[in-house]
């Protein structure tokens, strides 16, 4: 792996973290003193993916624009890494007319057809949709692939298993990714799934699989590379369970009392500072470059938020538009 690629990994992870940190601050800023989830410039639920950036960045470095992703309710890292426009996405999260969906979707329902990106707030239901996208790619003779991403809780849903079975039966170019962040809201993985290695589930569908430990962007990149290349070459689907870390709550406002000591431990395993010190130590980056990367990310994020805030809201009567094409 060349140094430029490693720098790009770092940059993209910083970009995503900077974005979500700013979103988090803005989300809470106007919900005080009496916290009301529906108040403020960013209303509604907010699921942040801090800690899971290595998954999105390692995956998307293997993808091109024509490849598809279906993401879950925690989608920002995947959307940004896939290339969804930050300004349009931010405007959507702010409920503005300039947003990806003119304010009809919000943060759990981001759609960017130019990047073949979508996400869904319903656990595991993006897996079958990705199978259909892969079906279309294969029928048209392209070498594009579809990637379905959801958490380890989603792997207990029927939709996950139906999708794996179909994709394997039809040998479709799909990469199924389980982001194992140890928690399905407040239910720990060991209370929900009787096996420690979720990639074993692929045995039931005759599918190659791997569990990826370490939450390291380079390891994840290499694992995804094998799966994506297999899919592009017509070798069919792969299941990857990637062990990652949820640094924040399930959603903003989640006090996380259920995590106990594990929370501090998780926060001590933040993948971005770890990668940063590794690259600095190895001489790939110096402190000045690190600062420049962070400044660049902040500038982009600030511009996106300013764009969203300055954008008009949709007309109330637009509620009636787009039920049908």
């Amino acid at each position: 792996m060349d140094d430029q690629m490693r720098i790009d990994f770092y940059k993209e992870m910083v970009r995503i973290r900077t974005y979500e940190s700013a979103l988090q601050a803005n989300y809470h800023a106007d919900k005080a003193p009496a916290w009301d989830i529906g108040a403020g410039l960013i209303p509604g639920e907010m699921h942040l993916a801090a800690g899971q950036e290595p998954v999105a960045v390692g995956l998307c470095a293997n993808l091109v624009q024509g490849d598809a992703i279906t993401g879950p309710h925690r989608p920002h890292h995947l959307a940004l890494a896939k290339g969804v426009d930050m300004k349009a996405m931010t405007a959507e999260i702010y409920g503005r007319d300039t947003g990806l969906s003119h304010g009809k979707g919000g943060h759990m329902h981001l759609f960017d057809p130019s990047q073949h990106f979508s996400c869904s707030g319903i656990i595991a239901q993006g897996y079958p949709v990705a199978v259909g996208q892969a079906f279309a790619f294969a029928r048209r003779g392209t070498d594009n692939v579809a990637v379905a991403v959801a958490g380890e809780g989603a792997a207990n849903q029927g939709a996950f298993h139906e999708a794996l079975n179909l994709a394997s039966m039809w040998k479709l170019p799909v990469i199924f990714i389980i982001e194992d962040n140890d928690w399905a809201i407040s239910v720990a993985r060991e209370l929900a799934t009787p096996i420690k290695d979720g990639s074993l589930r692929a045995v039931a569908y005759g599918m190659p699989a791997q569990r990826v430990e370490g939450n390291d962007v380079e390891t994840i990149y290499e694992a995804c590379k094998v799966a994506v290349e297999r899919a592009r070459a017509g070798g069919g689907p792969t299941l990857l369970e990637i062990h990652t870390t949820r640094l924040f709550g399930h959603f903003e406002g989640d006090a996380q009392a259920y995590r106990g000591d594990e929370l501090a431990e998780a926060q001590g395993n933040d993948p971005i500072p770890a990668y940063e010190s590794r690259l600095v130590k190895q001489g790939v980056l110096d402190e000045a470059q690190v600062a420049a990367i962070k400044d660049e990310a902040s500038a982009e994020v600030e511009a996106a938020i300013a764009y969203a805030k300055a954008s008009p809201e949709p007309k109330p009567s637009d509620v009636y538009l787009h039920v049908f094409a």
Binding site: A68, T70, G99, L100, S101, H102, G103, K104, G105, H109, F111, D112, P113, H116, S118, S120, I122, Q125, Y127, P128, V129, A130, V131, G132, Q133, A134, F135, A136, F137, R139, A146, G158, A159, E162, A163, N165, L166, M169, L321, H322, V323, F324, A325
Partner: protein, 343 residues
């Protein structure tokens, strides 16, 4: 019995099942993006004949048998549709929607809206509905109102072969998800009760029947009978038997979403009397919606209280005597017409 029957006049008459499969075949010939997916749609030809002959012509690449995996393959249909293909997906019985409704109402129906109009889902989801043959509670429902209640899906339910072909072609060409409900009794199946109106004249060439337009199936001036799907056939039988005594106008809705409210209002404005015949459950459904349509516009259009011949709010039973107590039948329709005429 074959699907195609030559009438005395030499005009081709076919079953509704044949009309549907012919519509799909013609669209598949002209558009390579159209394909069919579902359980037993391949060599079997669809449990109710909706895909008869397609496998022989198009093969397994485009007529795709699926595992019993409705969430999986309906979701896959959605994925193919958002990439611009035009899947025709069969859910064998509407009653099976319980295992896959998330894909239907949270994804198929909502993606266009959630995306602010940027992502289309041009997909047909066809399914068998209806009872009358002792298939009991989990294989006999109509449920069109359950789908119609949730925004984002068009819902059609033809009563005859001509409309079935034209509506299927419209559905495949539509840029929206369309729920296409075929009543088993309408299909003209050789292994069910023979309903003469389930075989009819159907042009061989392609044509469309517009989604959202009702049809006056029998003109009349004394009373309006609004119905859809199989029950339209019973309404026509009654209307014909009453010719000379009561002039019955039978309005075949053909589509439930969009509902042709103008056609309902126009007919009721003419007759002043309304009977609604609906094989779906009575409460919170189509028949109530039709009454509300009149009440919202002008309740004074009515000269008499409305009569609703709808499926009572009970699950569908097995024993024939029990099921027919609940189903809309010619006797009940005739009694309802008599009631509004004498009120």
């Amino acid at each position: 019995m074959t699907a195609t029957v030559e009438s005395a006049a030499g005009i081709r008459r076919v079953t509704t099942a044949k009309a549907i499969s012919e519509a799909i075949a013609q669209e598949m010939r002209s558009n390579p993006e159209v394909f069919v997916m579902g359980e037993d749609v391949g060599a079997y030809g669809g449990i109710f004949g909706s895909t008869g002959g397609l496998f022989e012509e198009f093969g397994s690449a485009r007529i795709i048998d699926t595992p019993i995996s409705e969430t999986g393959f309906i979701g896959a249909g959605i994925g193919a549709a958002v990439e611009g293909m035009r899947p025709v997906v069969e859910l064998m019985f509407v009653d099976f929607f319980g295992v896959c409704f998330d894909q239907i109402y949270n994804h198929m129906a909502k993606i266009h809206y959630e995306s602010g109009g940027n992502v289309k889902v041009p997909m047909v989801l066809m399914m068998a509905v209806g009872g009358g043959y002792s298939d009991a509670a989990q294989h006999s429902q109509c449920l069109w109102a359950s789908f119609a209640h949730m925004p984002g899906m068009k819902v059609v339910a033809p009563s005859n072969p001509y409309d079935a072909k034209g509506l299927m072609i419209s559905a495949i060409r539509d840029d929206n998800p369309v729920i296409f409900m075929f009543h088993k009794g309408v299909m003209g199946l050789p292994w069910m009760a023979k309903n003469p109106r389930s075989i009819g004249a159907v042009p061989e060439e392609e044509y469309t029947v517009p989604i959202g337009k009702a049809a006056v199936a029998h003109e009349g001036s004394d009373v309006t009978v609004v119905s859809v799907s199989m029950s339209v056939q019973w309404c026509l039988d009654v209307a014909e038997s009453l010719e000379g005594t009561t002039s019955v106008e039978v309005l075949d809705l053909r589509s439930i979403v969009p509902l042709d409210r103008e056609a309902i209002l126009a007919s009721v404005a003419k007759t002043g009397r309304l009977v609604i015949v609906d094989e779906d459950y009575k409460s919170f459904g189509l028949s109530g919606e039709i009454v509300a349509t009149i009440a919202d516009k002008d309740p004074r259009l009515l000269k008499a209280p409305v009569q609703r011949v709808a499926y009572p709010d009970v699950p569908v039973p097995y024993a024939r005597v029990l099921e027919y107590e609940a189903l809309p039948t010619r006797d009940k329709i005739e009694a309802a017409i008599a009631a509004v005429m004498t009120a």
